[in-house]
């Protein structure tokens, strides 16, 4: 027990070093690297939002891309239809709001069922959204994708800073929430909902709030990413494989840590890019690494930094 401060500080120093590198990067790195990290930071927010639901509320949401997709497409469609009569910041906020509304509409029925059925419900929601986007091609751009007339900025460095600050602020809020009394009640509900109920906690209410918070940040991140990329497509925002990547990132980084999810996302996207010269092999290598970490370090990167052993 006495040894705990040391690994904990190792985690702290690793975080501080990563933060410092991230601050200095725009001075040295190429626009290409910055662009890659911009996407990685938005993905980090997706993964952190997902961890709030899975790690704390104990609900496996197989459909993170449902929330992201609704946010991204709402923002994108508003801009495509109304530009230049509408501020893109309004579009972004509308995207986040739409994700929350869609999230509540999904969570209310889904939280009535428990265990694997919640996950399946969320999975079906993704498929429904995906099909809707393809069918309503007039509105959404369908399989070709939606071209958005405006972007926030075309400066790589500015985009990088926006994504970085957004990730930092979202991470701080989500982390703070996870450590607050609400986070504790969520964890208790996730682990043993019968007992949480017997202690006087309204389990459904708390899980619904977790879903709303998760939906808000997912939708906001999705909307911001649309105005970074200038397009929205099913393949980059909604497809199941995108969701799987987010889930792997969160688990890889360390369940129930919030911060770990961000680390996992940056790692996944970074590795994928580093290994790109290997072609198809790259995906395989990244998958094998992810598998090994999940099998041998169930607490993920954060668990490794804490010293491997479980508390």
């Amino acid at each position: 027990m006495k040894l705990r401060p040391l690994p904990a500080s190792r985690l702290f120093w690793t975080g501080a070093a990563a933060f410092a590198v991230a601050m200095l990067l725009p001075l040295y790195a190429s626009g290409y690297v910055l662009g890659l990290l911009t996407v990685a930071y938005y993905t980090a927010v997706f993964a952190m939002s997902w961890d709030l639901l899975f790690g704390f509320a104990g609900e496996v949401n197989f459909g993170p891309t449902f929330l992201i997709g609704v946010g991204a497409y709402t923002a994108g469609i508003l801009d495509a239809r109304l530009s230049p009569g509408i501020s893109i910041y309004l579009c972004i906020l509308a995207g986040a709001a739409a994700a929350v509304v869609a999230g509540v509409a999904l969570a209310l029925p889904a939280l009535r069922v428990s265990g694997p059925y919640f996950g399946l419900t969320t999975l079906v929601a993704v498929l429904m959204l995906q099909n809707f986007i393809i069918v309503a091609a007039d509105l959404t751009g369908g399989e070709i994708g939606l071209a958005v007339p405006d972007v926030i900025t075309i400066d790589a460095s500015a985009n990088y800073w926006i994504a970085f600050c957004f990730m930092t602020v979202s991470g701080a809020i989500l982390f703070g929430l996870s450590r607050s009394p609400i986070g504790l009640i969520l964890q208790a509900s996730g682990q043993d909902k019968v007992q949480a109920g017997a202690l006087g906690f309204n389990v459904t209410k708390h899980k619904l709030v977790a879903f709303i918070v998760s939906a808000f940040f997912s939708g906001l991140a999705g909307a911001l990413m649309v105005f970074y990329m200038g397009t929205a497509s099913v393949g980059s925002f909604v497809d199941i494989s995108v969701g799987v990547q987010i889930i792997i990132a969160a688990v890889l980084g360390g369940r129930r840590t919030v911060i770990g999810a961000a680390m996992g996302a940056v790692f996944l996207i970074g590795m994928g890019e580093l290994l790109r010269p290997l072609g198809e092999l790259a995906t395989l290598i990244v998958s094998v690494i992810a598998l090994c970490v999940i099998l041998y370090f169930p607490d993920g990167f954060v668990g490794m930094l804490r010293g491997g052993a479980r508390a």
């Binding site: 949480a196 109920g197 202690l199 708390h206």
Partner: protein, 492 residues
């Protein structure tokens, strides 16, 4: 002790809980006064836990009324019932593993509010006071995983009292605790009485709670059967019949009749721990070749654990010998092939396969002709299975499933058959069929039987010798006809 004069704080009237066609609790009525401790007892499946869960709102009552201080609780969700003043001390729980003991107690002190982003300043002091009260002061900064079993139970108690419940429900308060820990917990529960809280203790038998309770209510098959002072309930005819069965016609064969000098199965000083809970402690018993031995014990006494240890499914300390040789380190499959076959409590039938296929799988190791002979013999023993051959196993009735499970075990031609709670949940008429089958096995074959039962009525008539297992230890051994005189008090 009983404050019979004061108005009851909890009034349960005609509580009924149905699961589909099964009536788990039927028209149960009782009340508890402030400062009174009521023991709700009954054997496994009697509905006592369901009654407790219905009061907490974990299960929704099908009918009836549950009033706390005159306020109707029936139908409310459990978090609202908790806020109205009911607390439940869980037997099994999953505390927050990454948080310390102190933080776990603080969680119980948090309000159910979403606006509450920071804990109140006095939460820490309150949590520490509760910890000191239940005896956790020394382990405040430890994680639950490092706690001793009794301390985990103390943590449950701490969480339940954090909300100052007017009514405390305690599920099996003393399960897995040592004698000195039982004394500590009894004292903590007595403090509830002093503070004027009403307490409902749910347990298997009168004995375990008799020192603590003001009154006992006994249940059987979902219904009220007796109520009163512990001593009176223990003397009650119906209670004695439920726990001990009626007059016994014993056909036991004396142990001296068995010719083998060394018993075929010797269990010597066996101990098993589940994490921190001690499931078996220094258990020794023996079975002679051809002998029928019953191991009697209530749910949770450790019967299944012992059988699993014999079958090689579980690590244990001590020694288990079969035909004079240690069974360890044989794998479960090797042990089964050596002639020890367990028919588990859960039956473990292949539900999606036919009766015949289940039996054929049991006789897999036998040659074709031998298999057919064994099958004929079993169809003779359980004629109903012959008629049901092509039916899927999961569509059989409970009794037929039990017969199939026994028949499948017998297809393996065991030398020792371990039968774990064959009567669980079965109607009396089925028990007679099983009884006759066991009698035939005893009279016409050389098979050795080790029968685990909590149903004494079923266990005694088939036994040459009886062991009583209580809280992980063997507490009595003897012939069945001496059971009522010597061991019954232990069992009630």
């Amino acid at each position: 002790m009983t404050q019979g004069m004061s108005a009851p704080i909890l009034e349960v009237t005609n509580l009924t809980k149905r699961y589909g066609g099964l009536v788990a609790v039927k028209n149960l009525s009782f009340s508890i006064a402030p400062g009174e401790i009521l023991g709700l007892i009954g054997p496994n499946g009697s509905g006592k836990s369901t009654a407790m869960k219905s009061i907490m709102g974990v299960e929704r009552p099908s009918a009836g009324s549950i009033k706390l201080d005159g306020v109707e609780l029936a139908g409310l969700p459990s978090h609202q019932i908790a806020r109205k003043g009911v607390g439940l001390v869980f037997q099994h729980s999953r505390p927050l593993a990454r948080q310390t003991v102190l933080e776990n107690i603080k969680v119980a002190l948090l309000p159910d509010k979403l606006t509450h982003l920071f804990a109140d300043k006095d939460t820490d002091g309150k949590a520490r006071a509760i910890a000191a009260r239940v005896g956790l002061a020394g382990v405040l900064d430890r994680k639950p995983a490092t706690l001793a079993f009794a301390d985990l139970r103390r943590l449950e108690l701490a969480k339940a009292v954090a909300r100052h419940p007017k009514l405390v429900l305690v599920d099996e308060p003393f399960a897995g605790l040592t004698a000195s820990e039982v004394a500590d917990f009894s004292q903590l529960i007595r403090e509830f009485r002093v503070e004027g809280r009403a307490v409902l203790l749910v347990d298997h038998n009168v004995k375990s709670v008799s020192a603590l309770v003001d009154r006992v209510l006994a249940m059987y098959l979902g219904e009220w059967i007796a109520e009163g002072a512990a001593a009176d309930v223990m003397r009650d005819e119906t209670v004695r019949r439920v726990y001990l069965g009626g007059a016994l016609v014993s056909t036991a064969r004396a142990e001296s009749l068995f010719s083998d000098r060394t018993p075929v199965l010797q269990v010597e000083n066996v101990g098993v721990c589940y994490g921190k809970a001690r499931a078996l402690q220094d258990v020794s018993l023996h079975v002679h070749e051809g002998e029928f031995v019953s191991l009697v014990g209530l749910n949770g006494a450790g019967k299944t654990t012992l059988f699993n240890a014999i079958s090689g499914l579980m690590a244990y300390s001590g020694e288990i010998k079969w035909a004079g040789r240690p069974l360890r380190p044989g794998s479960p499959a090797q042990i089964a092939r050596s002639g020890i076959v367990q028919c588990p409590e859960t039956r473990e039938l292949f539900g999606e396969m036919s009766v015949r296929e289940n039996l054929d799988l049991g006789g897999n190791a036998l040659g074709g002709e031998e298999c057919a002979r064994q099958l004929n013999w079993l169809f003779d023993l359980f004629p109903i299975l012959k008629a049901r051959q092509s039916q899927m196993a999961r569509t059989l009735s409970g009794g037929e499933q039990q017969m199939l499970a026994i028949a499948r075990a017998l297809m393996m031609k065991p030398k020792l058959l371990i039968l774990d709670e064959p009567t669980l949940g079965l109607a009396p008429v089925i028990l007679e069929t099983l009884s006759r089958a066991l009698d035939r096995l005893r009279e016409t074959t050389k098979i050795t039987l080790l029968l685990g039962e909590q149903n004494v009525t079923f266990a005694l008539p088939h036994a040459d010798r009886v062991y009583v297992l209580d809280h992980a230890r063997i507490v009595w051994e003897g012939p069945p006809d001496r059971f009522e005189a010597e061991a019954a008090a232990n069992y009630l």
